[in-house]
């Protein structure tokens, strides 16, 4: 056992740190630190800077223009990026669709779409969830009917993250209504400019606009936008989900969040002393820090297994559950730390509320973040679903 990074990994860490120090725009980092909504331009600017360095598509093979980083390198980047308040890379094109196209897409599809993901020509969003099909994804109803060289798509998707910025959406659609639930589903790429596509905002409980409903009414999609084979979409979706689940521990985010809690608690006054010196509060912070420390190592153990070629299965579910609990606990501590200043509504999405609240702790909308991050244990397969997976696999004797 050796818990330290190798000399190569250390050198890589130094490189990443230097890059972030030199190239991460300070105005963007400040927005991330204060959890202010990033604009589309902010996100595209950061993607372009990363792409320029060759570090945008971190897990793609080099033949497609990727960095082909190891799991450990990706972990190092994630940790450093969170520490430097770099925005998270928008995952839809890069870590979701990209790998699916590389594995199942046609040569034409790869040649056309992959470079456009890298250079920012396309902004992708994900059309998976439906009002009746959240964690039970296979019960989706949006249908696509073949009509000559087109599919005609009708239905509704929901929870489409950042769909308001997207010009393309990859969707799961039902192409065979008579097949068993998980069969008869296809994976379709849809241009959102096509007539019949309508995006409606969903405002979340903290006032932010990050998700949408997407409605399809007789939308014509050319057959060349079908990925892989008709009715085999579930296979591709499952492949995509295993990609989505890596990094779900959110170690970097939790570390950055804990740092913020400590900063606020140092500045906050409690009976004439900094809150961080209050034994009760300090104990709460210490406990979550201890949990995080262990979880970071659990995460590294899984990464190390992945580096050795073992596909993460159960471990991804475990990380998702534990990681979301820890992040939510940190959000709760931040909310408590600001005391009465948790109450102001500081969402950028609300008209007239754009001015920062004159809050002496400079804490930003931490209570909004507490509410917003309730989603962590709901989306991407809820914690109940993850626990079900863990139970099913372990109780049936396999692992």
């Amino acid at each position: 056992m050796d818990l330290s990074y190798s000399p190569d990994e250390q050198a890589f860490q130094t490189q990443v740190r230097q890059f972030l120090a030199d190239d991460l725009p300070q105005d963007i980092a400040e927005k991330v630190r204060l959890d202010t909504d990033l604009t589309k331009d902010d996100m595209e600017r950061w993607h372009a800077i990363l792409n320029n360095r060759g570090w945008l598509a971190q897990n793609w093979p080099q033949e497609y223009g990727g960095a082909e980083w190891s799991a450990v390198q990706r972990h190092i980047y994630d940790t450093e990026a969170a520490d430097a308040n770099a925005p998270r890379i928008v995952p839809f094109g890069l870590s979701m669709l990209g790998p699916v196209l590389q594995k199942f897409g046609s040569k034409d599809q790869q040649d056309h779409w992959l470079p456009r993901i890298l250079d920012g020509t396309d902004w992708w969003c994900q059309g998976y969830s439906e009002p009746g099909a959240g964690s039970d994804l296979a019960s989706l109803k949006t249908k696509a009917v073949r009509d000559g060289d087109h599919y005609i798509v009708n239905g509704q998707k929901t929870w489409t993250t950042l769909g308001q910025f997207a010009n393309m959406i990859f969707c799961l659609v039902r192409t065979d209504p008579d097949a068993k639930q998980q069969e008869g589903i296809s994976f379709l790429l849809i241009d959102m400019e096509t007539p019949g596509v309508e995006v409606r905002p969903i405002i979340l409980l903290d006032g932010t606009h990050e998700v949408n409903e997407v409605w399809f009414t007789d939308v014509k999609v050319p057959v060349e936008n079908l990925v892989g084979e008709e009715n085999k979409g579930w296979t591709y979706a499952k492949y995509l989900l295993t990609h989505e689940r890596t990094g779900l521990g959110g170690v970097g985010f939790s570390q950055a969040g804990l740092k913020a809690v400590k900063r606020i608690a140092k500045a906050a006054n409690h009976n004439g002393k900094p809150l961080i010196q209050n034994p009760h509060f300090a104990a709460r912070v210490a406990q979550v820090e201890i949990d995080l420390h262990a979880m970071a190592t659990t995460n590294l153990r899984i990464i190390s297994q992945a580096a050795a070629g073992e596909a993460p299965g159960l471990e991804a579910s475990m990380l998702k559950v534990k990681g979301s609990i820890i992040r939510q606990e940190i959000n709760d501590l931040a909310r408590r730390a600001v005391g009465p200043y948790a109450m102001p509504f500081a969402s950028e999405a609300v008209e007239g509320a754009n001015d920062r609240i004159p809050d002496p702790l400079d804490a930003g909308p931490v209570a909004g973040q507490y509410f917003n991050n309730r989603k962590l244990s709901i989306f991407g397969g809820s914690n109940e679903i993850q626990r079900g997976i863990i139970a099913k696999v372990t109780m049936s004797g396999g692992a």
Partner: protein, 356 residues
């Protein structure tokens, strides 16, 4: 022993519940939430007409209630409906302070719904400490900054605490007073508050001290606990309905044991919360009142967090949307912990008081 409401309180509860069910639905509330004022003058007037404001005051003061249980009954119903009108701060806290100061004509106007108040006590680095006041009073002129003052913009008068020498005293400040600056903003759980600065602002001494503030604060604690309880009842009821109607994998999700047991836990904890509110209201005149109040506020804070988080989790994504009722209710529950001392504050106060 009798845990039933008196006939009068039962009537008050029935009337208020019926009124709010008919007049304060999700759509109406969402309109109020989105409005610039953050509250509805119509609702306020109607609540005054129903006698809801009068129930917060004793007969001596011109009301017809005013005991702990009257306050608990009113605020439980307001909490159940997710009412955002600042009745706690304006009518109860402000009104009872003016009643204590013998301002009977003002109190009459409060009960009638015509007078709006704000109480500016907390300060930017004071957190929840009641004796942390740095605002100064010199020859009736106030200077300092007050934090997260509820209803400051709409208030006709503001009650401001300030230090005159070594004593903390309360002053009445007019809306248009010189050197008074009010920087307003909306609140996460609805309504509005403001940062208030006073610069040599004239204030009328009310003859009240920190002890009087603490007495009014006890009533506010009951009200806040009861309001959170009402909101928890709604969150629990919405979740129960959802578990029975929402289907996944071909059956209602409430039939999955993993969720059914958690729902049972919520119902158990809800009864604990109800008992905590009864304790808060029942021990208000007791010599150990503060200990009971801290116990109640701590427990309500802990159970509130559990109920809000579990209700959201068991609903899934829909609970995360602003327009769905639970989102608002969950925010009311959690934000109640940030008023009049949070879970940790009252745990420490309980430890100190019970050791004494």
């Amino acid at each position: 022993m009798d845990f039933n409401l008196t006939e009068e309180r039962q009537m008050l509860q029935d009337t208020l519940r019926r009124y709010l069910r008919e007049q304060y639905g999700t759509a109406r509330r969402n309109d109020i939430l989105a409005s610039d004022t953050g509250f509805s003058a119509d609702i306020w007037a109607e609540l005054a007409d129903l006698g809801v404001l009068g129930a917060l005051f004793t007969e001596d003061m011109g009301g017809f209630g005013g005991a702990g249980f009257d306050i608990a009954v009113v605020f439980e119903e307001l909490g159940r409906a997710g009412v955002v009108e600042p009745i706690l701060d304006s009518a109860l806290l402000g009104g009872r302070l003016l009643a204590a100061a013998g301002k009977t004509d003002f109190v009459e106007q409060v009960i009638g719904g015509a007078l709006h108040l704000a109480v500016a006590h907390g300060e930017p680095d004071g957190r929840y400490d009641l004796d942390h006041v740095n605002t100064t009073a010199t020859d009736g002129k106030l200077t300092g900054r007050k934090a997260v003052v509820m209803n400051a913009e709409a208030a006709d008068h503001m009650i401001v605490s300030a230090k005159d020498g070594d004593t903390i005293a309360l002053y009445l400040v007019d809306k248009g007073a010189q050197g008074l600056d009010i920087q307003g903003y909306p609140l996460l759980a609805g309504g509005r508050a403001a940062e208030v600065t006073l610069d040599n602002t004239p204030g009328d001494p009310l003859g009240l001290t920190l002890e009087d503030y603490e007495a009014a604060n006890r009533l506010a604690l009951i009200a806040q606990c009861a309001e959170a309880l009402g909101a928890m009842e709604t969150a629990t009821a919405l979740t129960k309905d959802y578990l029975m109607t929402r289907k996944q994998f071909g059956r209602p999700i409430g039939t999955f044991q993993a969720l059914a047991h958690r729902m049972s836990d919520l119902l158990i904890e809800l009864e604990q919360a109800r008992s905590a509110v009864i304790n808060a209201a029942g021990y208000i005149e007791d010599k150990h009142a503060d200990m009971h109040l801290s116990a109640s506020k701590n427990l309500i804070g802990r159970i509130g967090r559990l109920v809000a988080e579990e209700a959201i989790q068991m609903h899934g994504g829909i609970a995360m949307t602003q327009e769905y009722e639970l989102a608002h209710i969950a925010k009311r529950i959690v934000m109640a912990d940030h008023r009049f001392g949070d879970t940790d504050y009252h745990l420490e106060r309980f430890i100190a008081l019970s050791a004494a």
